[in-house]
Point group: C2
C-alpha cells in the first residue's frame, strides 16, 4: 500500500508527537513534535527533524551538538496521531543534559525521584554556557 501523507492526523497547531527509540538498545530516547515539513525532511534526509513549539521554528536533532539521529524505521500508530521513529543515536546520548535518554527521572513507589543513567557528555562543553 502506498503511504498517503494525508493519513497522519496533526493537532490543531499542525503538530504530531514523535517518540524516538534507539534501534539497538530499544531505549526510549526522547519525545518531540513534528509538523508536516519536519516529517517530510526526516523522510527525505534520513535524519530527524522536529518543530520547536517554544522557539517556533524547525530544528534538526544534533544541529548544535553533532548528535544526529539516523532513521532506521518510521511507524505511525492505529489512530495515525503519533509517530515512532527508530534511530541510531550518534554520540550515544539524546538528552541535551548529557544523558542517553531524556527519560532519566524515575518516580519510585515510595514517591522519591532518582536520576537513572550517567551523563555521557558535559552539556557546557557541547552547547557552550549559553
Amino acid at each position: 500500500m502506498q503511504f498517503d501523507k494525508e493519513v497522519l492526523k496533526y493537532n490543531e497547531a499542525g503538530l504530531i508527537p514523535a517518540i524516538v527509540q534507539d534501534v539497538h538498545t530499544k531505549e526510549v530516547l526522547m519525545m518531540a513534535w513534528m509538523n508536516q515539513e519536519a516529517v517530510e525532511k526526516t523522510q527525505a534526509s534520513g535524519e530527524t527533524w522536529f518543530y520547536s513549539r517554544s522557539r517556533q521554528r524547525m530544528w534538526k536533532k544534533g544541529e548544535t551538538s553533532g548528535h544526529v539521529q539516523r532513521v532506521k524505521g518510521l511507524y505511525y500508530d492505529c489512530d495515525a496521531d503519533t509517530l515512532l521513529v527508530l534511530v541510531e543515536q550518534v554520540g550515544g546520548a539524546a538528552c541535551h543534559e548529557g544523558y542517553t535518554s531524556c527519560f532519566h527521572n524515575k518516580i519510585n513507589q515510595d514517591n522519591t525521584v532518582i536520576v537513572e543513567g550517567e551523563k555521557k557528555f558535559d552539556p557546557a562543553a557541547v552547547y557552550g554556557n549559553t
Copy 2:
C-alpha cells in the same frame, strides 16, 4: 529527593502524553494522555489510567478487554512534559485492533506502508461488534 507532583507540566488542556513501553521486550506499545487524576490513579493502583480526549472521560487500560497494564516503572523527561511508563502488558497486546503495539504501521523508504506484527486477538471477540 521527594517527588513533587507540581513539577509535571500539563498542557493547556491539563494533559500530559504518556508513552507506554513493555518492560520485558522494550517494545513501545502505545501513547495516550493522562491528566493529573490519571497520573495519581496510575501511581496508586499500579495499573495504567488515561484521559480520553474524544470521550472526555477517564479510562483504565483493559477496562473492557481485561488487558490491563501493570506498572513496573514511571519516568518523566528532562522537560517534565512527557511520561514514560514501563509495564507488563496482560494478554500480550496493547492495541485495540489486536496487535501487540499500536505502532504497527511501518512507512518504508520507498513510501509504501506495511503492517508489522500479527494480531494477538480478534477485536470483535474482545470488544464486541459495537
